[in-house]
Amino acid sequence: MARYAYYPGCTLKSSASEYEASVKAVFNKLGHELEEIDSWICCGASPAHQSDAGLSSDLAAYNILAAADSGLNILAPCAACFNRLKAGAHKLKNDDVFRKRAETEFKHAAADVEILSPVGVLNSPDNLDAIKAVVADHHSELKLVAYYGCLLVRPPKIMQFDDPEDPVLIDKVLGAAGFTLLPWEYKTECCGGSLAISNRESALRLTAKVLNTARKAGAEAIVVACPLCHQNLDARQSQVNAAFNEKFAIPIYYFTELLAFAMGFEPTAVGIDKHVVESVKVLRRGA
């Protein structure tokens, strides 16, 4: 039984509400507690660090120091929040000048707070055992590929998370829950997400490549651990179809949605019906 300072970030409260619902369902089922950080604010994600490095660091530091009182480590399901918080933690640890300033500015002493992702946490030996026990009867025929995106694993020196060229943690935890994950070559290739507004053409082209490669690998669905990956691959799939005269109908699942389903939760209970691409029937069919 573990407790975490829960950092949702903006999307988990809005466009990625199903990710929050499924994370909470899975963690509660395994007996862990998530305590939402009281005064959390925006992490800045890509817009902040692209336009103002100082602001970006400060946002991360604020959130980390806000959680410090609880004495708990931070759990951040969104890959972008995870990435920014880790970068902030790295800076607090290694940049003395920055740490002193942040402590003065936000009136709080820095503590040794670890930034965690549910992808990493659920792969601990204890959690894997617990998952196997809970999903004992579950087996799915659905052919999946895991798309890790960029923020979970890069830059390798700061993220120190899984293998940056060939990550396996999502595959591992879903494998333990009885799902079939296919090997494929596109685990960390760019989906064009950050160009969605400024260069829509390129973004669609790159997203189409991810979908196409998944299909070629024999996948019926793609698993992600990031709200922006999800948005791009799911919400934009119809735009990709229109732009490239394609007929993709590939459901995009958060890995925790699949875990929740395997644990016995109804798809609608964790928001799988909220996806743009039809995802509920496909899931039931494979079960």
């Binding site: 293998d163 940056p164 060229e165 060939d166 070559e185 596109y186 290739e189 490669t213 070629k216």
Partner: protein, 651 residues
């Protein structure tokens, strides 16, 4: 009464800019037993040295203090100067006024004060110096060459022809090294085996040269002129005297395994010769895969061998021989490219290394010279060569340039066009380094005559797409991204030293750098010697190099060895430990602390005392520190002399 001469050097502006030389000379002139003090702009020059020699004569000086640069620079120079002046060369002390004063203290007043203090210490010490004499050390005029590639072979030939007994030790079953595996050599496109084989034959026929193949050096003891080396001759399970190299055994052996010589692209048997021109031309049984040696079955080779040369009971043999000089020429192997996650961690069959490609191009190789895709055997029509895989890459811990890859890739590109004229050949590079003779012209020929497409940009990712390998790269000259399918990808993999060579370095007391290459005595002026006297280094084990440089360094080491052997005898170090037998109580604490095994125990006037082997002693001083009775003293650094320095400093 001593008659000390003190000479302070300006070293141009190196010392004079931050030390008041005049003040130092004036202070020195007043120091006890100093009869003469002077200064010069460049004391190490001929003018400077002549001044010292003149002063010695004129003022009957019997010992000298020099205030100048570090003794590491010119100690030998000044010792020679003293010899010329008719003085014992050890009646010298050097105060380092450059590295230890001028270069580190910008404050002139403080620097000058320190300079005077250091000169004072040197004066106090030299006053107590005694003349030291060297002894003659005999030289065993036999040379050991470790490594039987082209470097070792060349060195052995040079030494054999010079008339010196030479032993060539090679860890593989045949000599020849990497050159035996190449197809053609740049820039002439000579067939590699055709230029190597005559050398292999020559070295094996030289009367003076003995080859120990399938053998490794186990230990090296001793010192220059007298190295005692143990060599393990590993069992071949073949009687070398009987085997005729006829090859019947290897035709019929039922066990087939990947051939190391063919880089795994072809097979060999459990009993085999590594390649047809192997020297010695003798078979060897691989004890890991031979059915008889692992399971007790078969023995077909023994039944077929008409010479009765098979000997399953053969054991490793250790021989110990004495040598006067050692040449290390252990060569290189390839960087393990499977570390590159961006290139698939080694799981793509159609991704091979440059050395794999040499075997493929070779008409006597596993594909009979046909360029094929290992996955399906088809001829590739679009081939990519990726430079700098495992070189110039900080992220993988190999920031250095491996020097030979730009040239061997240009060669591969040209040969590809010759073998597959309608192939599209791409080379992805960072810079093209073609610095040798006729190298630039060779590279330009690849571009202009053969139409090889050179793209300036690293390949960031290779992945499988159906049957092709997709490359993601950037053409930095055009400013465009590239994503193209290729049928075959050849990696120009960097050169690294063998692990066994790094291990050997530790056993012979040689230094290696961060990557395991042997550290030369001086990077500019002593590139083929190690800091250990009597041990020399040639070829790529010191740093990656092409064949001409390898042969040049090999001959250079042979010349150094000849120079060593041409001396009548060596001179021992004089600044070594001396044990006063009267004072020694025989506790042997010195023996326990000596790192060089230079102390033994002998009987003397009815008691056991410690005795120093003057040929081995390096003068480290451990025994002096350990000695309770003050019997052990370091010649040239006695307690008396050192205390004299401290006293002078504490004035």
């Amino acid at each position: 009464m001593a008659r000390i001469g003190v000479f302070i050097c300006h070293c141009g502006k190196n010392i004079a800019a931050t030390v008041d030389i005049g003040k130092v000379v004036a202070a020195a002139a007043k120091m006890p037993q100093v009869k003469y003090a002077a200064e010069d702009r460049y004391l190490c020059s001929e003018i400077g040295q002549n001044m010292i020699i003149e002063a010695v004569k004129e003022h009957q000086l019997d010992r000298i203090v020099i205030g100048a640069c570090s003794p590491r620079m010119h100690e030998e120079t000044y010792r020679a100067c003293l010899r010329q002046a008719g003085l014992n060369p050890y009646m010298l002390e050097i105060a380092n006024l450059r590295e230890q004063v001028s270069w580190v203290h910008p404050d002139i007043a403080a620097g000058t004060e320190k300079a005077i203090a250091l000169v004072g210490m040197a004066v106090a010490k030299v006053a107590k110096n005694e003349p030291l004499l060297t002894k003659e050390v005999p030289i065993t005029r036999r040379a050991l060459v470790i490594g039987g590639g082209i470097a070792g072979i060349q060195a052995a030939i040079d030494l054999g022809l010079a008339g010196y007994e030479t032993v060539l030790v090679e860890k593989e079953p045949s000599i020849g090294g990497r050159m035996a595996q190449f197809d053609k050599t740049f820039p002439t496109l000579d067939c590699s085996a055709c230029i190597l084989a005559p050398r292999m034959v020559e070295v094996s026929h030289l009367e003076n040269v003995k080859i120990y193949s399938n053998a490794e050096v186990e230990s090296v003891k001793g010192f220059v002129g007298n190295f005692e080396v143990s060599i393990r001759k590993k069992a071949r399970f073949i009687d070398e005297a009987k085997c005729t190299g006829c090859g019947i055994c290897m035709e019929k052996c039922p066990v087939k395994v990947p051939s190391e010589f063919e880089m795994g692209l072809g097979e060999r048997r459990a009993i085999y010769k590594p390649f047809p021109q192997a020297i010695p031309n003798i078979a060897i049984i691989d004890k890991e895969t031979c059915r008889y040696l692992t399971e007790g079955k078969c023995q077909l080779c023994a039944k077929l061998c008409e010479a009765g040369a098979i000997d399953y009971e053969q054991q490793d043999e250790i021989v110990t021989e004495t040598f006067g000089a050692i040449i290390v020429a252990t060569g290189f192997k390839l960087f393990d490219y499977t570390k590159y996650g961006e290139y698939g961690y080694g799981r793509y069959r159609d991704m091979i290394t440059g050395l794999d490609y040499e075997r493929m191009l070779n008409a006597a190789g596993p594909t009979k010279g046909h360029v094929i895709r290992p996955s399906d055997g088809r001829e590739p029509k679009r081939i990519a060569f990726i430079q700098c895989v495992g070189s110039r890459d900080d992220a993988k811990g190999v920031p250095y340039c491996s020097r030979i890859c730009c040239m061997y890739t240009a060669k591969h590109a040209i040969l590809t066009k010759e073998h597959v004229p309608d192939a599209e050949v791409y080379v992805f590079y960072i810079d093209v380094r073609a610095a040798g003779k006729n190298y630039e012209e060779f590279y330009q020929m690849a571009r202009e005559k053969y139409g090889v497409k050179y793209i300036r940009g690293r390949v960031s990712r290779v992945y499988q797409d159906d049957g092709s390998l997709m490359l993601k790269a950037v053409d930095t000259i055009l400013g465009q991204t590239i994503e193209m399918p290729f049928d075959l990808v050849v990696l120009a993999v960097g050169a690294v030293p063998h692990e066994s060579a790094i291990d050997l370095a530790h056993r012979i007391g040689a230094s290696t750098d961060a990557y395991g290459f042997y550290t030369e005595a001086h990077p500019k002026l002593r590139p083929v010697e190690l800091l250990t006297e009597g041990i020399f280094v040639a070829g790529s084990c010191q740093a990656p190099k092409d064949i001409p440089d390898t042969v040049a360094t090999a001959s250079a080491t042979a010349a150094k060895v000849c120079g060593l052997f041409a001396k009548a005898h060596l001179e021992s170090r004089p600044m070594i430990s001396a044990i006063d037998p009267e004072k020694c109580i025989g506790c042997l604490a010195c023996l326990a602390v000596c790192p060089f095994d230079a102390v033994t125990s002998e009987a003397w006037r009815g008691k056991d005392i410690a005795v120093i082997n003057e040929s081995v002693c390096k003068g480290c001083g451990n025994c002096v520190a350990a000695c309770r009775s003050g019997a052990a003293q370091l010649r040239g650094f006695t307690d008396d002399q050192l205390i004299g320095e401290v006293d002078a400093l504490c004035q």
